[in-house]
Symmetry: C2
Subunit: 198 residues, 2 copies
C-alpha cells in the first residue's frame, strides 16, 4: 500500500496540461468567490469534465493545497528577508504580518486551514503546511523570548491562532483597516514583555 502508479517516469503531456489548467482556473475562482467556489465551474473553465478534476485532486483540500503551494514558497522567501533583520522583536512582528497575509489569500481560507489542524488527519493535505507554519512561528517566538521581548507564557501556536483570527476577521469584510490595526496592536501588547524597550 504505497504510491498508486504514477511512479512511471514521465507524465503524459495532456495530463500536465490539464493539471496546469485546473490550477489556474481554481486560483481564479478562489480569488473571485473564495475557497467555496464551485468545482464544477472550475472544471468547466479548465476545459475538462468534473471527473478529471476529481482524478487530479480527490478532495477540495487537495486542490486548495496545490494552489497554495506558490504562496507558501513566497512565504519562505519572505522568511529569509526577515531573518536579515537581526531584531527578534521586529522579526516576530513581521512574520505575524506575513502569516496574516498568507491566510488572507482567498476569502474563506482560514476555515479549512483550522479544520486541517483539528485532529491529526494525515489524509488532509493542508495539515502538513499548517504544522510547518506553526513550527516556524514557534521559532520566532522563542527567539523573541530569549531576547526578552515576549512573555515566557506565550506559545507559537497562540500567535498562529491570533494571526488566523485577524485574517478571518479581515476576510469577513466587516471591518475597516483602523479596527484591524487596533486589533493587531492589542495582540501585540498582549504578547510583548512589558519592560521591553520601545
Amino acid at each position: 500500500m504505497g504510491a498508486k502508479g504514477q511512479q512511471g517516469r514521465k507524465p503524459r503531456a495532456d495530463v500536465q496540461r490539464n493539471r496546469a489548467a485546473l490550477l489556474e482556473a481554481a486560483q481564479r475562482h478562489f480569488l473571485r468567490v473564495g475557497v467555496g467556489a464551485s468545482l464544477e465551474a472550475v472544471a468547466k473553465e479548465a476545459g475538462v469534465g468534473p471527473a478529471t478534476l476529481y482524478r487530479h485532486f480527490p478532495t477540495r483540500e487537495a486542490l486548495l493545497a496545490a494552489v497554495l503551494q506558490t504562496r507558501s514558497e513566497e512565504l519562505v522567501a519572505r522568511q529569509e528577508d526577515i531573518a536579515l533583520l537581526g531584531d527578534a522583536s521586529e522579526a516576530l512582528r513581521q512574520w505575524l504580518r506575513a502569516l496574516e497575509e498568507y491566510f488572507s489569500a482567498f476569502s474563506g481560507l482560514p476555515e479549512p486551514l483550522m479544520a486541517a489542524v483539528r485532529e491529526r488527519e494525515p489524509d488532509n493535505p493542508l495539515t502538513l503546511p499548517c504544522d510547518e507554519l506553526i513550527a516556524t512561528t514557534d521559532e520566532y517566538v522563542r527567539a523573541a523570548q530569549l531576547a526578552g521581548h515576549a512573555r515566557p507564557s506565550v506559545k507559537g501556536y497562540d500567535l498562529y491562532l491570533a494571526a488566523v483570527s485577524v485574517a478571518w476577521i479581515k476576510g469577513s469584510g466587516a471591518t475597516d483597516e483602523e479596527s484591524l490595526d487596533r486589533l493587531r496592536a492589542l495582540i501585540e501588547s498582549g504578547y510583548r514583555e512589558q519592560d521591553g524597550e520601545e
Copy 2:
C-alpha cells in the same frame, strides 16, 4: 413599503403552531450540524413544506435571528448579574466570556454575525442585535477605562471582535481548552492597563 398584513389582531392557531415547530426544529438542527443546516430538513422535521418555512422566515438569517432571541434574553439576564459585581475590571472580563459563549451557541455562528455588521444592511435581522452587543461592550470598556483598568486606546468593538474570534476558533474545533485559555489571557493582557493592581 410598510407592514404587510399581520396587523390583524390574532394570528391563526396553525400559524403559531407552525412557527413554534419551525423554531424548535431549527434549533435542534443548528445545534447538531451548525448554522448551515439544510432548511429543507428543518421544514420536514417541523412537519411543513419548504414554502411555509420561507413564508415565516424569508431568509436563513431571519430564522437564525428568531432562534437566537432566547439566547439574547439570557445574555441580558446575565448582564444584570454582572452589574452587581461593582468591579469594572472583573465585569468586563465576565462580559467578554458571556459574549464568547453566546457566539458559540451554534457551530458556524460567527460567520453570519460578522456578515451582519458588514455594511449597514438594514434588511439583515442580525444587524440590530449585533449592534446592541457592540454598544454594551463599549459601555463595559468605558467603565473599566474610567477605573483605570483598561488602556484608553481600546474600543469596545475591538474586544467584541476578539470575543468573536475566540468563539470562531473554539467552534472550528482545532483547539484544546488550554490553548483557548492562553489566547484569552493574551487578549486580556492586551487591553489591560499595565499599572493596574492585580
